[in-house]
Amino acid sequence: MSRKTKGYLLNTAVIAVALLIFFFYRNSMMEANNKNFRLSVIPSVWQCCYLIILSASLNLVLGFMGQLSIAQCGFMAIGAYTSALLSLAFERAGFYTDKSGFNFTVVLILSFLNAGLLSALVGLVVGIPALRLKGDYLAIITLGFGMIIVNLINNLPFAGQNGLEQGSASSSLYENGLGFSSKQQVAWVFLAILITLFAVTIMFMFIRSKYGRAIRAIRDDEIAAEACGINVSHYKVLTFVYSAFFAGIAGALFSCCNGSLSTGTFTFANNSILNSTFLVVMVVLGGMGSLTGSIVAAVLMFLLNRFIKEGEWLSSAPQFVQTIFGYPMLVYSIILVIVIVFRPKGIFGHNEFSLINLPADLKRIFSKKKGKEAGV
């Protein structure tokens, strides 16, 4: 058995054990009817799940292919609205009544698939013209397309701010369609976890194949990649579409665990954590070109955001600290600049975290530290 296979098996085994432990933990918490678990832990798990998918999918384009796209939240918006509207339509048609059972599962699967596929389709339409440009121009044109997507959704008669007929979108989702109440979020938490695991796994398969090699080559030197016979625009558009697909899936997860949908959530920069800049921070922090890095950074940034927004430490902090942390985007942008200036590679650089390498990595890190202390 090769070291690679061993590594895969080890990682899979550890994930399986962790899932099992979480399963028993959840059941005991449910029996105890633990409020904190239901209202705080489980929603956090859901949020982390879609943040992980988002940052990993953006990393494909930004980190592995080296193209800065700031339309990712636009694709997420498409996924969120598609799944919400589709599930709502099925409910109104009387296909399911309560959120369990076979019929509802079918609707779930359909909603998620369609969310991904429609995002991918729009990704194709945007990607073909946009990816003819590079660098600054690509950033600007994706910014433009992202805004157009959000504006379009806003103006659709059946979507938009108040479009989901029975009152506004915000009030209807918990009651209807895909929106899960906190109890349902506990019941369906494994849906989120499994979808995330599944999505990350197939992104890994993509990266560790000819597709991954082709796009990393494009990142390092486009002209040389062409000289190696790589159809650069083909692979660029393909990856862009692939990434948009997962952003759509993340959007569907988002609409499951949020009672409300509003296009304001998906704009370029706002004070919630769902904006394209926040995503770029996650990818850069984790390491452009490291999927595991994106996962770790997504969880870290989620915790940081929570710490800033809900931390009790803040009320006892000096006034100016409170003011600054009252504007989380300020904190995130400063983090972004600091990371880019002092550690442009992020936490992991191009490396992937794997348990089998852990002992060796730890050894290296510690010997480095010792070396530094000794003044080497």
Binding site: R132, D136, I140, Y327, I340
Partner: protein, 299 residues
């Protein structure tokens, strides 16, 4: 006919302001090949400086309100230089084009949010005092307000000055040398870092002047004032050919006209969408813009 002519004047006025801002984008791009996403926010910096300094000028010194622009220029130039020194330069020396670009986006957000975090500014918009007393001129049957005339004249004068600066002075020569070839410029004894700093200072000062002219017409200053203005000016710079000074002026005028005529003849809600569409079409058909030079990548 009167509608047409007054629309034309509004277009000229808007266009002059966009051109002033676009010049800042274009100068910086010409010299370091990077889009300074934070440039739009220099307008916001200039706007707030004016809000705070104009009362001092009028009440304490008895000078006209617009003299506050001196402080706005100074503050904007300092902010521009700081942004370059603290963020862009370290990243440029170390990183790739990608990290420079990400830093620029981050700097824009930092400026906007930092302004909000300053207690004297806060999240609510501020209303500046009247800058040019309302009066108008009637010429050949149409009435033009004086602010419009001032705006067009000032913008024209700034452009003439800038052209002279770039063409006739030693700084202008240094700037052109650095944008042509950095290594050769160093060999010729040009201080690249200093030239870049000065370019940032001048670009930011133009944004301060643009801020004065803009809030003279639309008296409201808020922290994100620069993002949509900046974006339109950026579209103007790209349209004219980024890196080209006459291109920025031409692009500014075209975008100003397009916006003014869309508002007058189609709908005001469509104006922004229209500007985005122009951007996307230009980028796809002729990414180097109207007056831009086509640069081949060397193989």
């Amino acid at each position: 006919m009167t509608i047409f002519l007054s629309t034309l004047m509004v277009g000229l006025r808007l266009g002059s302001i966009y051109a002033l801002i676009a010049l800042g984008y274009t100068m910086v791009y010409g010299i370091i090949r990077m889009i300074n996403f934070a440039h739009g926010d220099f307008i916001m910096v200039g706007g707030y400086t004016l809000v705070f300094t104009m009362p001092v000028m009028t009440e304490k010194l008895g000078l006209p309100a617009w003299t506050g622009v001196v402080f706005a220029i100074i503050v904007c130039a300092i902010v521009g230089v700081l942004v370059e020194l603290l963020a862009y330069r370290p990243v440029r020396k170390k990183g790739t084009g990608m990290s420079a670009l990400i830093t620029a986006i981050a700097m824009s957000l930092i400026l906007e949010n930092l302004a909000q975090a300053i207690p004297a500014i806060g999240p609510n918009p501020k209303i500046p005092q009247v800058i040019f007393p309302a009066s108008s001129l009637t010429l050949a049957g149409i009435t033009i307000d004086t602010t419009t005339i001032y705006t067009i004249v000032v913008a024209g004068a700034m452009m003439v000055l800038l052209t002279l600066l770039v063409k006739k002075t030693s700084f202008g020569r240094a700037m052109r040398a650095v944008s042509e070839n950095k290594k050769a410029a160093v060999l010729m004894g040009v201080s690249v870092d200093r030239t870049i700093l000065l370019t940032f200072a001048i670009g930011a000062s133009l944004a301060a002047v643009a801020a004065l002219m803009y809030i003279a017409q639309y008296p409201l200053v808020f922290t994100t004032i620069g993002s949509s203005l900046g974006l339109k000016a950026f579209v103007a710079a790209v349209l004219g050919g980024i890196g080209s000074l006459p291109g920025a002026m031409l692009g500014g005028l075209i975008i100003g006209m397009a916006e003014s005529f869309t508002v007058s003849y189609i709908s005001s809600a469509m104006a922004d969408t229209f500007v985005y569409l122009i951007l996307i079409i230009v980028l796809l058909i002729r990414p180097v813009g109207i007056l831009g030079k086509n640069v081949r990548e060397k193989v």
